[in-house]
């Protein structure tokens, strides 16, 4: 979870929800298949996780509560806070792909989360956006990955995406 304060006291947080490692990650496996079919044969494993960006006059404790009681399943998932300064380790073998809907595109899941937060008494979330992160293990080229993502996991017409060396 990271926090930045862009304007007038409203904060922005990111929460990442991961499937616990002992469960089959069907979404990640599907993504791996897509990358392979586009020639990224060096990718060995993909784990998918869900990203939430919460914006509003929220405290860090409130976001913790939201993650614990709403966003994260206590049995199958774990949530993590990642701040902006984790050192990049072994970047060539670990990549992180993030896919978000563009701001002009309606985010139905974000709407559901915002309403559910309100029901929990956290009415201060002004907007919630949802994204997906893919953690790719394997020696890949950035260019090749970016091209493959634009042709499979993201559609540049409605998504923005980033491919970065993964923080561990």
């Amino acid at each position: 979870m990271s926090e930045i304060k862009p304007r007038n006291g409203a904060s922005s947080y990111q929460v990442e929800i991961k499937l616990r490692p002992d469960y089959t990650d069907a979404e990640g496996q599907g993504a791996l298949g897509l990358l392979h079919s586009l020639g990224v044969n060096t990718a060995r494993e993909v784990r998918a996780s869900r990203l939430y960006e919460l914006r509003g006059a929220l405290t860090s404790a409130q976001v913790q509560q939201a993650a614990r009681e709403l966003l994260c399943d206590p049995v199958t998932q774990e949530f993590r806070m990642f701040n902006g300064h984790t050192p990049v380790l072994n970047g060539m073998n670990h990549w992180r792909i993030e896919v978000w809907l563009k701001p002009s595109v309606t985010d139905p899941v974000g709407d559901t989360v915002r309403a559910a937060l309100e029901e929990m008494g956290l009415a201060a979330a002004e907007s919630v956006r949802v994204g997906t992160a893919y953690h790719v293990t394997g020696k890949c080229g950035r260019n090749q990955l970016e091209k493959a993502v634009a042709r499979s996991l993201a559609n540049p017409v409605i998504h923005r995406f980033t491919v970065t060396e993964a923080p561990l």
Binding site: S2, I4, P6, S12, Q14, G33, E53, R55, F82, G84, T86, R96, L101, K102, P103, S104, V105, T106, P108, D111, T112, R151, S152, N155, V157, I158, R160, T164, P167
Partner: protein
């Protein structure tokens, strides 16, 4: 990693509020139109200019935008309803209105009293029993699916479901259908920048239909896919919905003073320019804001609340917000009356929307109601209980004008007569290039078994199970005849039968309805007229095969074509429309609703225009009086007689046989309507008497494919003799008998003890016993010379049929 600062919201395009329009030359008008993405033609621009000159004022920006939406091909069907100068290869004549002279003419001539509402509302409506009616609509969502297939498919389903919610006073959706035309998933040729790979389009469209339909709780239980490389730049996605509504709710009537109430999703900057976008040729600069992803749960909320409010009679009219947003929805509802709209009252997704954006936004999941003021409180209570938002944005008045304001600012003040009747008609030219008779195809060296396996494995025939299972095709507990049939629930059904009484609550009523489709663009490449007849015939036969009452069938037409500005394309369209007309009149089946989509052509990598094959989808619906008498296509047991209905001629042009053997030529299957109809009546009465165990229609791959499917689905073999097939004198080859695609044929399984009664029913129809079912799981065919020409284990045939699509979609 640092988190990027929130991206700036999509910028509002600053439009001048008033144009300097009236003084522009035609050239400048055209430039302005192109720059503004309006898709007006010259005559339309001049008509608008003349209108405002007469008013002695310049048009406001939102007024021109409103006209652009309302006069778009998408909303006004200019090609189908405009004049066409048509040369049929011999002489030229003027078609004043193609729609009136073909589709509408057929419906008028057939004159069925059970057609309760045709062509005028959001869907066609037919009677279903005494108290209920069925509404059916099929839409296309081609351009959005080409650009963003997942979101395009979702919003396509959402849109057609809203058509059903907006027909009459609202119907409950009980069935979704989906038909796709794509390039083969393995297509590996070059594609222009921005065109998505066919496999991706296929996967994403399936996912979109699945996620929206499943979330809405509407079974997706009927459909099909057609693969042809010429759809690679312009994939087609047809989505349909059937709804049930009480007969009293078929009519809507707005009274002056009724409030204009919007319900469902909020209005945002998303989806601007959808209507004009869908009429423009697809370029790589498709406006991103025209593409959306759906919010199924918002639409489900609206559905639940709306039907509750309908039954409490809280509103007088409803329509959906589709292309053109409020401008089209309110504009249409106000036709004949007038409307006063205050946009500041609309609920918005972002507070900084410009008035014209609110007015024209195509944000999804919105409906517009006409509500008597005294019912507003009760209506608010119903919607708030479902967590569905509502806002009052104005009222209907008796002014003949559409007046839209935002606070003190006038956004639109238009004469409704001009808006709805002022569209100038442009005459188009059409030429029909009569195809040269092509000689009979050469002979293939392939063995019959090899040809059969190739047919079954072909993308246009193979099993669709991998897709169908992703759709919740049994929600609502009414899918009595399922899309997958047979011992192992995996055989290809001809049609689905829906028992919709979870919606009506009448648990003792055993009546239902069946839905089917006919589509074969391959025939149309040679002869669009015969294609149209064959499509109608196939749709009807599919209904017959599940036990529906085809004398009560109704058709829907969906034409998807390339540019109508190309006279040759338009000529083919005229032929197809005439075929549809003759089929409807001949079979006595009315068209009740339809839709068209033009400009399905784009520039390929070499900059050359690639048009899609002219495509006509005929959807059919018919009641099944007693669903407990419905049929499936799987063989039920050994020792039963196999009867073939209909004549077989050598009709192989456009056939699957030609394709898998690499041949061409021959004649396109031709429907002989009168004898076909006699056959359907005869078989229909035998089915109604319970004399038929299973029935399956013959289509792509002919007799061989149909018989294989029946056998491996039922896990019983069959032995037939080709010499017993009723055939025209000119057939001398086993190949032609096995693979010809002569229309109007159905294969039937009859118990030996019922054969006499069956034949009595079938008197007057061409019905021949061609063999019997056997316990041994093989397909055994005796040829014209009396020798066994084909003997294949069912397992090999089934494997060939099942393997293709899962492999293609991996």
């Amino acid at each position: 990693m640092t988190v990027a600062a929130p991206e700036k919201e999509l910028k509002t395009v600053e439009k001048p509020k008033v144009f300097a329009f009236n003084a522009l030359s035609l050239k400048d008008l055209k430039a302005l139109s192109a720059e503004s993405l309006w898709s007006f033609n010259e005559a339309e621009l001049l008509a608008i200019q003349a209108h405002f000159k007469a008013q002695r004022r310049e048009p406001r920006a939102a007024e021109v935008e409103t006209l652009a939406q309302t006069w778009s091909e998408h909303c006004k069907h200019k090609t189908f309803t405009g004049p066409i100068r048509y040369n049929d290869g011999k002489k030229t004549r003027l078609i004043k209105n193609l729609f009136d002279e073909t589709i509408a003419k057929a419906t008028k001539q057939v004159a069925k009293p059970w057609c309760l509402s045709v062509f005028k509302d959001n869907a066609g409506v037919v009677a279903f029993g005494k108290k209920w009616a069925l509404a059916y609509k099929v839409e296309t969502h081609n351009h959005p699916c080409a650009v963003e297939p997942y979101g395009g498919a979702e919003t396509g389903v959402g849109g057609v479901v809203r058509d059903i919610l907006g027909v009459g006073l609202g119907a409950k959706p009980v069935l979704n259908t989906d038909i796709f035309c794509f390039a083969p998933p393995a297509y590996e040729g070059p594609l222009p920048e921005g065109t998505l790979a066919p496999l991706r389009t296929l996967r994403s469209v399936v996912a979109g239909v699945r996620d929206y339909g499943n979330r809405m709780g509407i079974p997706t239980a009927a459909g099909g896919i057609w693969f042809d490389a010429d759809y690679r730049l312009n994939p087609l996605v047809f989505v349909g919905t059937v709804g049930v509504l009480p007969v009293w709710a078929v009519k809507k009537e707005i009274k002056p003073g009724d409030l204009i109430v919007t319900v469902g999703g909020r209005t945002g900057r998303d989806g601007l320019h959808g209507a004009t976008f869908s009429s423009a040729n697809l370029t790589d600069e498709a406006p991103a804001s025209a593409v959306q992803i759906g919010h199924a749960i918002n639409e489900k909320r609206a559905l639940d609340a709306l039907l509750c409010a309908r039954d409490r009679k809280l509103y007088r009219a409803v329509t959906d917000c589709g292309a053109g947003g409020f401008s089209s929805a309110v504009g249409e509802m106000a036709d004949g009356l007038g409307a006063r709209v205050r946009l500041e009252n609309a609920k918005l997704k972002a507070s900084d929307l410009k008035p014209w954006e609110i007015w024209l936004s195509e944000s999804q999941e919105r409906m517009v109601l006409a509500v008597p003021p005294k019912n507003l409180k009760a209506l608010e209570a119903v919607f708030s209980a479902e967590g569905c938002e509502l806002s009052v944005i104005g009222e209907f008045v008796k002014s003949g004008r559409l007046v839209v304001t935002f606070k003190d600012e006038t956004v639109v003040d238009l004469d409704l007569k001009f808006l709805h009747k002022g569209l100038p008609r442009v005459e188009r030219t059409a030429v029909w290039d009569v195809p040269k008779p092509s000689s009979k195809g050469a002979v293939t060296k392939l063995k019959l078994a090899e040809i059969l396996q190739r047919c079954l494995a072909h993308l246009n025939v193979c099993s669709r199970e991998t897709i169908i299972r992703q759709y919740d095709h049994e929600v609502q507990g009414g899918t009595v005849i399922k899309p997958l049939q047979g011992v192992r629930h995996d055989g290809p059904g001809d049609a689905c039968v829906i028992w919709p009484h979870a919606a009506t609550g009448d648990m003792e009523d055993l009546s239902g309805f069946a839905v089917s489709h006919g589509l074969n663009p391959e025939y149309g490449k040679t002869d669009p007229y015969r294609m149209a007849l064959a499509c109608a015939d196939e749709a009807l036969r599919n209904l017959l095969c599940v036990g529906a009452d085809v004398s009560r069938a109704a058709f829907l037409d969906n034409f998807c074509w390339a540019s109508p500005e190309d006279p040759h394309q338009l000529g083919r369209l005229v032929r197809a429309a005439e075929g549809a007309r003759d089929a409807a009149i001949g079979f006595g089946v009315p068209f009740i609703s339809g839709k068209d989509s033009f400009y399905n052509q784009s520039k390929d990598v070499n900059g050359k225009d690639l048009p899609i094959p002219g495509t006509l989808l005929i959807s059919a619906v018919a009641p099944v009086p007693d669903v407990s008498k419905a049929l499936t296509m799987d063989i039920k047991g050994p020792g039963n007689a196999l009867y073939l209905l209909g004549w077989t001629s050598e009709e192989l042009c456009g056939s699957l046989y030609n394709e898998v053997c690499g041949l061409s030529g021959g004649s396109v299957p031709e429907v002989e309507v009168r004898s076909a109809l006699d056959g359907y009546r005869a078989v229909g009465s035998a089915i109604a008497k319970g004399l038929v165990l299973s029935a399956h229609d013959l289509s792509e791959g002919g007799l061989a494919a149909a018989l294989s499917e029946m056998c491996f689905s039922g896990e019983f073999g069959a032995a037939i003799d080709l010499d017993d097939v009723a055939r025209s004198g000119s057939i001398y080859s086993n190949e032609a008998l096995l693979f010809s695609e002569s229309p109007s044929r159905v294969l039937l399984e009859v118990k030996p003890e019922n054969e006499a009664a069956f034949l009595k029913c079938a008197k007057g129809a061409t019905v021949k016993r061609i063999g019997e079912t056997i316990a041994n799981p093989i397909l055994k065919v005796r040829g014209l010379d009396g020798l066994v020409v084909l003997e294949e284990p069912l397992s090999a045939l089934k494997t060939a049929w099942q393997r293709t699509l899962p492999e293609a979609m991996e």
